[in-house]
């Protein structure tokens, strides 16, 4: 039984009465006790993919197509009511921006408790105790005081940990974390990542981790998915993808990591920017920036195909090998 299986996920918005697909051709699987990392530049559709899995994009009028199977249930076809009982309880989401993810008019502790009591029959007092325990495990100093405070009284790092606590409080089966540690300094970041690791190992949850940080991915993830302009360009186990990247974009991303001892000014960057929604080039969306692009790249969209080592890659450089 597959835990989470996403097939040909596509999100479509209407912009000026023209369809724009900021997510297209995203497919991957995630098993229990596994950590999947999603990388890509800003605007590559990482967060939107997470929203689509939770059915949140409908909030602003997007259409979601394809298939999202979670423990054999097709999430894209179940009712909103059923989805509400899954959101937060079985699939929890840690949103990207902790500064704006908390309701300004409620005490942060009550907001965590609200998430907990929505899905479990638990007394107010017991819920409070459980939340305080969780806050302490998240290294929140003076948890009982922070519990009573309003979001504007907390620092960014504390807010981030509150948001993480909101995601973890219900003991979800699958955790989707959208850059959960960006606002934290490295030491706290390491503690939080260790806590995530424990949850994966002890409780067998699946973790879907969105991040810019390739270092974090290399450390904690079992699988990695590379996204570019709404397409999944490479997906596979962490070792083959990082040791021998196949897609030119993955290679370029890995080349951008600075290391200690490198010569000044030798840090490479990928020329140009990710195209924004509605301005996608024809064919492979990466071809204008790709040093290896050749004729089919401009006209045909490359399919995601499996290559040696189990990695899947969407690039015309590899299409021929399969055909021939």
């Amino acid at each position: 039984m597959t835990f989470l299986e996403v097939r040909d996920l596509e999100v479509e918005f209407q912009v000026d009465k023209k369809p724009v697909t900021p997510i297209e051709g995203v497919s991957f699987e995630l098993n229990e006790k596994e950590v999947l990392g999603i990388v890509g530049e800003t605007g590559s559709g990482k967060s939107l993919t997470a929203h689509a899995i939770l059915g949140l994009s409908t909030l602003v009028g997007g259409k979601i197509r394809g298939s999202v199977k979670f423990e054999e249930r097709e999430l894209l076809s179940i009712s909103e009511k059923e989805m509400q009982s899954i959101r937060g309880a079985q699939i929890a989401f840690i949103p990207q921006n902790p500064m704006t993810s908390l309701d300004p008019v409620y005490r942060v502790g009550d907001q965590i408790v609200e998430g907990l009591t929505q899905h479990t029959k638990i007394g107010k007092h017991k819920a409070r105790q459980q939340v305080l325990d969780l806050m302490e495990r998240l290294r929140i100093p003076k948890a009982d005081r922070v519990f009573q405070q309003y979001p504007h009284q907390l620092s960014g790092g504390l807010k981030q940990r509150i948001v993480i606590a909101m995601g973890l409080c219900t003991n979800p089966r699958l955790l989707i974390a959208d850059e959960p540690t960006t606002a934290l300094d490295v030491t706290v970041q390491a503690q939080i990542m260790r806590l995530f690791g424990e949850m994966v190992a002890d409780r067998g949850i699946g973790l879907f981790l969105i991040t810019h940080d390739l270092g974090v991915i290399a450390q904690v993830c079992d699988k990695v998915a590379v996204m570019y302009a709404g397409n999944m360009v490479e997906f596979g186990k962490i070792e083959p993808v990082f040791n021998a990247p196949s897609h030119p974009y993955t290679k370029a991303l890995l080349d951008c990591i600075p290391y200690i001892g490198m010569k000044k000014g030798s840090l490479s960057a990928i020329y140009g920017n990710v195209p924004t929604g509605g301005n996608y080039p024809s064919g492979c969306r990466y071809h204008p920036r790709c040093p290896h692009s050749f004729s089919p790249c401009e006209t045909r969209v490359p399919a995601l195909i499996q290559i040696e080592g189990g990695t899947r890659v969407a690039c015309h450089l590899y299409q021929g090998k399969k055909d021939g």
Binding site: H51, L54, L56, L59, V60, Q84, S85, I86, R87, G88, A89, A92, F93, P95, N97, T100, S101, L102, D103, P104, V105, E114, G115, Q118, H119, H152, V163, M166
Partner: protein
């Protein structure tokens, strides 16, 4: 300015509560010998055409104005919040229908709607409250709808949704409390407007029935003796002016205190 506004409103509330104790005479006690008497030591503001003490009537009138103002605004806000939040949250056809109704109501002068309603349900204090309440709801509906529309896209609303909250919880527990500050400001100024509308209806004889002393009705009866005893019209008018000024100043001060955006941008 906010201090002046607060002082005026607190003064009005105290006068309204303790009216029976503050009145030097009974507000309906007539004294034929002292008709239209000018202000004097025994009748500080003078008397009206039946020789009733004007000070006592202005004091009792404060109670009427305050109660009518507050109750009718509560009705307006209640209707406005329910209609506005449903329109803003669900959007689409529901929004179109509700917004059109609100715009239609808003485009008609409040006094016309109120007159029509009073004509239908009959004169009297209760019908004035209902009529004013039904005349002013559209502005709150529009305000709340706008707030809900912009807040709906807020990240914390999406975060709440991602935790499995139902529409009901999102709307009433998160969206509405966050949209309340401009509504409270508008309601404060709205109390002033409602008091003016009550006085207008009273002036036209459609408000509280005699001998209940409504400021509007007092001014209306004073017009007949405008050149003989101008104090009959001046003092209720002055009381009303100070009251409305108080609510407006208080409302302005509230805008600055409650402006969440200013406070959070630091």
């Amino acid at each position: 300015m906010g201090v002046i506004g607060t002082a005026l409103i607190v003064g009005l509330i105290l006068v309204a509560i303790f009216a029976p104790m503050l009145e030097p005479y009974s507000f309906k006690e007539q004294n034929i010998e002292l008709m239209n008497a000018p202000p004097s030591a025994s009748h500080l503001l003078g008397t009206d055409e039946y020789g009733r003490d004007l000070l006592s009537r202005v004091i009792r009138g404060a109670r009427i104005s305050f109660v009518v103002g507050v109750l009718s605004v509560m009705i307006s806000v209640l209707i406005g919040v329910v209609i506005g939040s449903i329109a803003g949250f669900y959007g689409g056809a529901i929004d179109l229908v509700l917004t059109t109704i609100a715009d239609l109501t808003w485009s008609m002068p409040a006094i016309l709607i109120a007159l029509l309603l009073v004509a239908v349900i009959g004169a009297g204090l209760e019908s004035v409250v209902v009529a004013i309440g039904l005349s002013y709801w559209a502005q709150y509906a529009r305000l709340v709808r706008g707030q809900i529309l912009s807040l709906k896209a807020a990240v914390y609303i999406e975060a709440t949704k991602s935790m499995g909250a139902s529409d009901f919880i999102i709307l009433f527990k998160h969206l509405l409390p966050n949209s309340m500050s401009p509504v409270i400001v508008a309601a404060t100024v709205g109390v002033g407007n409602a008091i003016v509308l009550e006085a207008t209806l009273g002036f036209l004889g459609m408000g509280a029935q005699p001998p209940t002393p409504s400021w509007g009705a007092m001014m209306s009866s004073g017009t007949a003796y405008l050149f003989i005893s101008p104090w009959v019209i001046i003092f209720p008018g002055l009381a009303m002016m100070l009251t409305v000024l108080g609510f407006n100043l208080f409302g302005d001060a509230l805008i600055e205190i409650m402006d969440v955006k200013n406070k959070e941008s630091n």
